[in-house]
């Protein structure tokens, strides 16, 4: 198969692209996404939430060519998994002179995730990770994450399947800043996960394959598998889900109203204690 723009041998399909045209198109789509959704505004200080996995490395690789970015990494404490991606991240940031800050669940006053041994590790992990990003991104205007098209289509479907449509307002390419909390942006919003890995591979960014032992237990994993099955029969299914969400639910200007603040950390919360603080208190 040949590249549909230059006739060189294609390395990827949908659309057919050679290495050079693919890399160019991949980066263009990121700049277009940033522009389309006004993800980064002039003078904003950017912090990239980085795990050392393919998504965050690819994001750093692209953003650092045009912006002055810093990396913030949360170590959840997952033996045999996170240590390896953190090593990859350290090397990557050193080579590109990107400042890197590492924080762990212990810095929040919580135990390592594997020591907590929760029934639903991914929900605990997500809540504490979000809290760590919130607490340690003071001084930045935006937190950029490596969430890609697949992640977003999964999140939308998960909320629909759980009948939690009120949570859809938290999704979208840019979540506005709230008091003391940076805005969150997703420059890979319309980029398929498969292409992120291809980009890393073709750019020579080393990402050792490693998988969190908890991932296959998650609802997200099941939804992701179903979406991939769907995509084979109906190419474009993931993008259609996301574009429909944008039309029907995305309100970029509207800050998420939180009725109360947490009495322990003063973060947004609908209860006396926010979810993160409840977890930290229960753990101690």
């Amino acid at each position: 198969m040949q590249c549909s723009t230059c006739n060189e041998k294609a390395v990827i399909t949908h659309p057919a692209r050679c290495k050079t045209c693919f890399i160019h198109g991949f980066e263009e789509r990121v700049w277009n996404t940033i522009e389309r959704f006004s993800l980064i505004r002039p003078e904003e200080r950017i912090c990239v939430a980085a795990s050392g996995g393919k998504d965050s490395l690819a994001l750093l690789e692209i953003l650092h060519t045009r912006y002055d970015v810093h990396a913030l990494c949360v170590d959840e404490g997952i033996a045999g998994y996170r240590d390896q991606t953190i090593d990859d991240l350290k090397t990557f940031c050193e080579q590109r002179s990107i400042p890197l800050k590492l924080v762990s669940f212990a810095d929040l006053g919580a135990q390592r995730l594997d020591a907590q041994n929760p029934d639903h590790p991914c929900s605990v992990c997500g809540v504490l990770r979000r809290k760590a990003l919130m607490d340690y991104s003071q001084g930045y205007d935006v937190i950029a994450t490596g969430h890609n098209l697949d992640d977003e289509a999964q999140s939308i479907l998960m909320n629909l399947l759980r009948n939690q449509t009120h949570l859809l307002e938290r999704l979208g390419p840019r979540t506005p800043a709230q008091e003391g909390i940076a805005a969150r942006i997703k420059p890979f919003y319309t980029t398929p996960e498969r292409e992120v890995r291809a980009y890393c591979l073709l750019k020579g960014i080393t990402t050792n394959f490693s998988e969190c032992p908890n991932v296959v237990k998650s609802f997200r994993w099941k939804v992701g598998e179903a979406l991939n099955d769907m995509e084979v029969g109906r190419p474009g299914a993931k993008l259609a889900i996301v574009e429909n969400f944008l039309k029907k639910y995305y309100r970029p200007q509207q800050a998420i109203a939180s009725s109360q603040t947490c009495t322990r950390c003063a973060g947004p919360s609908s209860h006396e204690l926010c979810r993160a603080c409840r977890l930290i208190v229960v753990n101690n």
């Binding site: 198969m1 294609a10 390395v11 990827i12 399909t13 057919a16 290495k19 795990s51 996995g53 393919k54 998504d55 997952i78 998994y81 992990c125 697949d150 996960e193 498969r194 992120v196 890995r197 291809a198 591979l201 073709l202 394959f209 490693s210 998988e211 969190c212 908890n214 991932v215 992701g224 991939n228 099955d229 995509e231 084979v232």
Partner: protein, 66 residues
């Protein structure tokens, strides 16, 4: 000679007697093309690429685990 296939996600090495396209190999192994990229002798190739017994095939996963 047989084809050497490495499947990253399950960390499996297989030796197969196979001639056909990348897509046919994935069908045989029951792997969804959406979840992988295929390298033939270390180069990324498309699903229509022809594979023969002398090739070294690497099936890498695109789904990030966590």
């Amino acid at each position: 000679m047989d084809m050497q296939v490495y499947i990253e996600r399950s960390d499996e090495h297989k030796t197969l007697t196979f001639t056909g396209s990348v897509q046919e190999l994935l069908d045989l192994l029951e792997i969804n093309v959406q979840t992988v990229l295929v390298l033939k002798n270390d180069a990324l190739v498309t699903e229509d690429e022809a594979l023969t017994d002398t090739d070294n095939v690497n099936i890498i996963t695109v789904v990030s685990g966590g």
